[in-house]
Symmetry: C2
Subunit: 368 residues, 2 copies
């Protein structure tokens, strides 16, 4: 499995793996793909610095990437304390009552932390600054076109810049602002996602940006058949996320067994696209927590970044409780295919083998 | 492009084309695919009989199929006059006021017809009876598993039975009730559709029903790349619909230019999945009509078959007016790729050529 992106990045397979875990990212890079570390969980730039140092030392010299969450325009922001004054009491009350109803205990004394500040522009910018002191080959932005000066800074340092797009016009806008690689994020993807499904979105974006801009297919990809489909649609590589939560390496980050129990039993029908996680539509595992927000009388989610601050403590409590019926977890429809926990290297080997097998089958159909 | 379905049906390409137009269906069959005539628009069994006689005479002896809309269980039903007593005044008032606001004129004196009775069980059953007096090779049901006696009757007459499924469990249920072929209808499809996108749904259903049950990929398929993707995902053929609205042959059925104007300019972002057409979620072109139903204060759509009866006259008026901003039109996300009107044979030739080109490109990627 070889496309021009392999040469551009010095990787063996055009399989890009977004993950919040440095253990998963490093294992993917070592296995021939490109591990991309999600930075949004790092409220502390020094912690990210330490983790990227670990990445530098544990990737056998193989390339890796980082993923930040940076709006192009600087929004109103402040500390979480400032921002929380904008959160209506009705919303706080709903969250408290829902947690009580779902039996989610408070955090143990002394635990708990701030909301995820990675959603703030200033924090994302510090992530870029730290990353540039290490050796990533790619910076991806999950929230549209990065600011122009960030793109220039990355290019000057020899990095490629990628950005997610959920519609062809967004992809064209990214390219005209200097983004190198488009991640076509289909409706079926976990996390932030638009309404156009991969089968339609990938070729639409490929045609919209033209042959000189590589496109990664994202959303619904967790098998070699799906990689073949995505590359058949014109992608030069795939951007995967959810499937890496089902790996042994991810257990270093997951705080308890609730997550595994939840996704191992879930089918492709068990996700929902909702604004409750960040204020923008994102696909999550369907649980009692997401269902509570869909009931009559539940408040409408707040805009980004307020919604994240509103639910941050709740998510800490939910995840600490480890109740798989309640868990709050961004994940794609591919979760239905995640039925066992395996080492990253084994998952990679299967993706590659099934891709080749699929192309052979297509040859028979085509009579080639 | 050849799979076992080609031999099973005596067709050249495993491309199934659902269409309400006998002209399109016949042209697809003549071009080597399988044209499947949608019967729901026929309120009069004799009219269907005449049309199928025309099909028998205009398909050069090639096979064709029919598509009915038949619930497995017989619901409460009656004439449209009986049923309309169940429709709340609030709903009728909303429809009237919305048409006034959107500037949709009444039908000319003497025109107008009943709601589409094809949604009623008794009418669908008469469609099957009529079809069995002709020579279709396939009966597809758009509303789940057909009744057992209908399946047996079709099998006795040598026909295969296909049914749409939007989730693996529905596909398994179809198969255990004797359905021969599953149409995996992805989220991106026009008309009735579920929430799982084709990239995930197709392989999930292929794996759920096993290797002995052929699966057709449906939803988002309007190019040879998308056919390659769908077959790569494990489908043995594709079920297409929307793209055939953009053919010269379809002009025999379309009453005015409004439709063409509407879909030629639409992008893949310009559809919406809503219950306003039949009471069940179906994807339509996004127009001022669908937007009106999404506004605050609009009533919730009624259950099937009441919603169809509620809006039937409105749809007749809207379609007669030909205003492309208001039109009511089931269509998939593939509408973004429908940018010119061409003859069916040309569309077919392009699908086949692009499929082969795509497989050759995948061979290069795989190093085969």
């Amino acid at each position: 499995m070889r496309t021009p992106l392999c040469d551009a990045f010095g990787i063996e397979y055009p399989i890009f793996a977004f993950t919040p875990s440095e253990h998963v990212a490093a294992a993917v890079s070592r296995a021939g793909g490109l591990g991309v570390l999600g930075c949004v969980r790092f409220n502390d730039a020094e912690e990210l610095d330490r983790v990227l140092t670990w990445m530098d030392e544990n990737t056998d010299g193989k390339p890796y990437g980082v993923d930040v969450v940076m709006p192009m325009k600087i929004p109103t922001e402040g500390t979480s304390t400032d921002l929380s004054t904008y959160i209506p009491e009705e919303h706080k009350k709903f969250v408290d009552e829902t947690l009580l109803k779902l039996g989610v205990p408070p955090l143990p004394e002394g635990e708990g932390r701030e909301g995820v500040l990675g959603w703030l522009h200033s924090m994302a910018r510090s992530h870029v600054d730290v990353a540039l002191q290490h050796r990533p080959v790619l910076i991806a932005n999950a929230l549209g076109t990065p600011p122009n000066d960030v793109i220039e800074e990355c290019h000057a340092a020899g990095l490629k810049v990628a950005a997610l797009a959920g519609a062809p016009k967004h992809a064209q806008s990214h390219v005209s602002n200097g983004v190198d690689i488009i991640i076509a994020q289909g409706y079926e993807a976990g996390g932030h996602t638009g309404e156009i499904a991969s089968m339609v979105l990938t070729p639409d974006i490929v045609d919209a940006v033209g042959p000189n801009v590589p496109v990664l297919g994202a959303g619904g990809i967790g098998s070699g058949r799906q990689i073949a489909a995505s590359l058949g649609l014109g992608a030069q590589g795939v951007w995967t996320g959810s499937i890496w939560l089902g790996t042994e390496e991810y257990r270093n980050l997951a705080s308890n067994q609730g997550w595994e129990t939840a996704f191992l039993r879930a089918t492709s029908s068990d996700t929902v696209r909702t604004r409750i996680y960040t204020g923008k539509p994102a696909r999550l595992l369907k649980t009692k927590w997401t269902e509570a927000w869909a009931e009559d009388g539940a408040p409408a989610p707040l805009p980004m970044p307020l919604q994240n601050l509103l639910v941050a403590d709740a998510h800490n409590r939910i995840n600490a409780s480890g109740d798989p019926d309640v868990i709050s977890m961004p994940i794609g429809q591919i979760v239905g295919r995640m039925n066992e926990v395996r080492p990253v290297a084994e998952v990679m080997a299967d993706l590659v083998a099934e891709f080749e097998e699929t192309v052979k089958k297509l040859n028979q159909v085509a009579g080639l």
